[in-house]
Amino acid sequence: MSKVPPDLKYTRTHEWLRTRPDGTVEVGITDHAQHALGDLVFVEVPQAGRTVAAGEPFAVIESVKAASDVYAPLAAEVIEGNPALEHAPETLNTDPYGEGWLARIRPTGAPGALLSAAEYEKLTAEESD
């Protein structure tokens, strides 16, 4: 069973969000997503300073199976992409909720419709039925 930490928020497109004490948000992809994608070979993180709309593709991850877009969960300004992923994309497989974070962003609009851990768990259970 995939891990779904209770203290995070989630999207239907398998991103997670962690709100940090300073109001900025850390974004990554879920354990379920990394598992479905398989071994990652390349990650393109967003540039610092880039403004993104909610739902806009803002990162690309490539696994041995496929290349996929990662969507910005909120309208935001990108503070930084995780520089470690360029040389060690596999971190996203081994520690998706920790060292494998994709980007830190500063929300610029109202928070969208995010899922709780329980709701996300329900979604992934339906998908793998």
Partner: protein
Amino acid sequence: MSAARDTRLEKLIFEYSVSGRGANDQWPALPGAEASADLPAALRRAAPPLLPEVSELEAVRHFTRLSQLNFSIDTHFYPLGSCTMKYNPKACNQYAMLPEFLARHPLAPESLGQGVLECLFELQQMLCEVTGMQAVALSPMAGAQGEYAGVAMMRAYHRSRGDLARTEIIVPEAAHGTNPATATLCGCTVREVPVDAAGDVDIEALKAVVGPKTAGIMLTNPSTLGVFERRIEEVARIVHAAGGLLYYDGANLNAILGKVRPGDMGFDVIHVNLHKTFSTPHGGGGPGAGPVGVAARLAPFLPVPVVARRDGRYVWLAERDLPHSIGRLSAFAGNVGVLLRAYVYMRMLGRAGMAQVGEYATLNANYLLARLTRAGFEAAYPHRRASHEFILTLRRQARELGVTAMDFAKRLLDHGLHAPTTYFPLLVPECLLIEPTETESKATLDAFAQAMADILLEAAQEPEQVTSAPHTMPVRRLDDVRAAKQLDLAWKPSP
């Protein structure tokens, strides 16, 4: 891989090399130093290039052994979905290799090439007829180049009307990866629309994204989910009403050949992968051909050259004849040798044969789907009839037995069967996309279904036999991660 190399694997030709071996007296006379005297010293080689030095017989054996390692449509069943790996009749090759075609110089005048021009003109006509388009250009040299030409024509059309805001291309989430890539390369932004649970485009989502910025939508029909898009006329109405154009990706044309035409569905632009549908060599990076067809309003923008008939003679139309053309995509007329193979194939099939291709491709896919569902496999779209291909999902086997779609694919190799497409489209978990094509016999389809059933049983009883497959191939499970990351494959002599 650290394991010892299988003796069936062939060494690199460099590893057979012995310095000085070769037929030295057959070498052409080497130019002296004066031949490169006008090149700057920095650009001149100091040492000769490292080339393998082997005897003629060693070279013959090396390449023959390599060819025997091929797993190909000429040796094995090859049900690779979305790619239509069908049999190319040898006659297509034979006639395209006639010396009159092979020896023709591309700069020879039209008056000395009426025969080849007539073939190409008729090929344009036949492609118009089979796709329902008004005009066709043959010069794009691959499917991807055809796509580029198609979207470039859509942009040129909007620009010619002063409609500069139309920069968005809509693609369904199940689209071929090349569609969004082409749109991006043409300077457009991509808007994705979801498909509903039955595999059709989500009409409400489509209505929400179309508007004054819509340049067009790119679709395959039947889609990559292996089902026919039932509301295509409604999709066309919505996109056209918003001022956009419809682009047909010809990847799945085989399913509908002679049955229904993209032009009649409302499509404005199409590219055709001759290597998928019309019996030309497939894969390996070329040479390919991806002709484009258009509705009348886009005809002025076709890439040049195009063949026309004037006063009973065949002539090339170039920039002076088509001043609004998006330009040239190839040297001369594209890959004419490939085009001729498709021409021969279409002439051999004829109008009636064309419809039989679609019928048998669809019959074979539905027969195989029925056999596999009866054997206990789960269809991703169980309530839909398959087109020329269909999707199985092995999510239950992955969850309950720990045996994935990739494991099934690898185990099939031990049964002498090429694996179907795995993990595409990505929105179906643990999927196999299976396309038997029209040229396979019932016996072959039965053998494939039996092999799948055997593997299913084995997955329950001895799963490690499946998860560690293949067992009989010259190479075992490959390290996909290393293959994707370590790209320096140049051989270097050991010190």
